[in-house]
């Protein structure tokens, strides 16, 4: 098998994830898209670890752990937003407007 096919799969997942982050309104869905991006990165890490030893796998594990933390905190933030605004619509969070 070629290395490239895994990398391309990861690239597709990554781009789809970016699309989701840009397009989705619901905060929970944005977090899901971020998970797609992280998983794409993990595929890359593990694919490359066939060349350069187990470091890639170790990093993939770290990414999984960090992703778990990120989802925990991210969802807590979404919950807080919901509690304060009765909505998780990211479009409405535009107080940084210039």
């Amino acid at each position: 098998m070629l290395l490239n096919q895994f990398l391309l799969l990861a690239a597709v997942l990554f781009s789809v994830g970016v699309y989701g982050v840009i397009v989705r309104r619901n905060g929970v869905l944005v977090l899901m898209s971020v998970e797609l991006i992280l998983n794409a990165v993990n595929i890359n890490l593990i694919a490359f670890s066939t060349f350069w030893g187990l470091g890639g796998q170790v990093f993939a594990l770290f990414v999984i752990a960090v992703a778990a933390a990120e989802v925990g905190v991210g969802l807590a933030i979404v919950l807080l937003i919901y509690r304060n605004r009765r909505s998780v619509d990211i479009d409405q969070l535009d107080e940084l407007k210039g």
Partner: protein, 196 residues
């Protein structure tokens, strides 16, 4: 036809493996696209399960069993449940809803395709002809805790053991840092989400 097969087999073209991969890849891509396009929030979470599961299979193909299992446990076991809880707690509409996307769909699509082109082009340029070899996994020997040499060979057990040696050897401090991070995230999530 036979010559093609012969040519393929002469370069160790792994037909069943590639077919399996192709099916898996298509499934994952479709699932991923559904995650970001579906109009039902719960469906999005369920499609995400498909992508994450597909990821685990990809890890298995790449002979990373431990990571694959962790993926199943952490992602499908924990994170998806978190997402479902999040959907419930934020009273997201459980059925179809039309306004899940904002008005940037075209921008998002253009950016996504642009990224795909750039990444695809550069990885093809750099890694287009590299074949996977699992030689890097075949570590000659690792030592167990007592220092005696352990035969690992190509067995799956041995790879996981080698991974454990990596984590608790070279990567011990990052590992500890990650555990601190998890604790911090735990506390942070509680602080953020508690009602007071």
């Amino acid at each position: 036809m036979t010559s093609l097969l012969a040519a393929a087999s002469s370069t160790s073209f792994d037909v069943p493996g590639n077919v399996a991969f192709a099916v898996l890849a298509v499934l994952m891509v479709v699932a991923a696209i559904r995650v970001v396009t579906t109009r039902n929030v719960v469906h999005a979470a369920l499609w995400l399960v498909v992508v994450l599961g597909g990821n685990a299979v990809v890890y298995l193909i790449l002979q990373a069993e431990f990571v694959a299992l962790t993926q199943l446990l952490v992602y499908i076991g924990a994170i998806i449940v978190l997402f479902l809880f999040g959907i419930m707690l934020t009273r997201a509409p459980l059925g179809r809803s039309e306004d899940l996307d904002n008005n940037q769909r075209w921008i998002g699509a253009v950016v996504g395709v642009l990224l795909l082109l750039v990444i695809g082009y550069s990885v093809t340029q750099s890694w287009g002809s590299d074949r996977l070899d699992f030689a890097a996994y075949d570590l000659p020997q690792v030592s167990d805790v007592a220092g005696t040499a352990v035969e690992v060979g190509g067995s799956g057990n041995g790879r996981t053991q080698a991974l454990a040696n990596e984590i608790f050897g070279d990567y011990l401090i990052p590992f500890e840092v990650v555990s601190v991070l998890l604790t911090g995230a735990l506390i942070g999530a509680i602080v953020l989400a508690r009602r007071d």
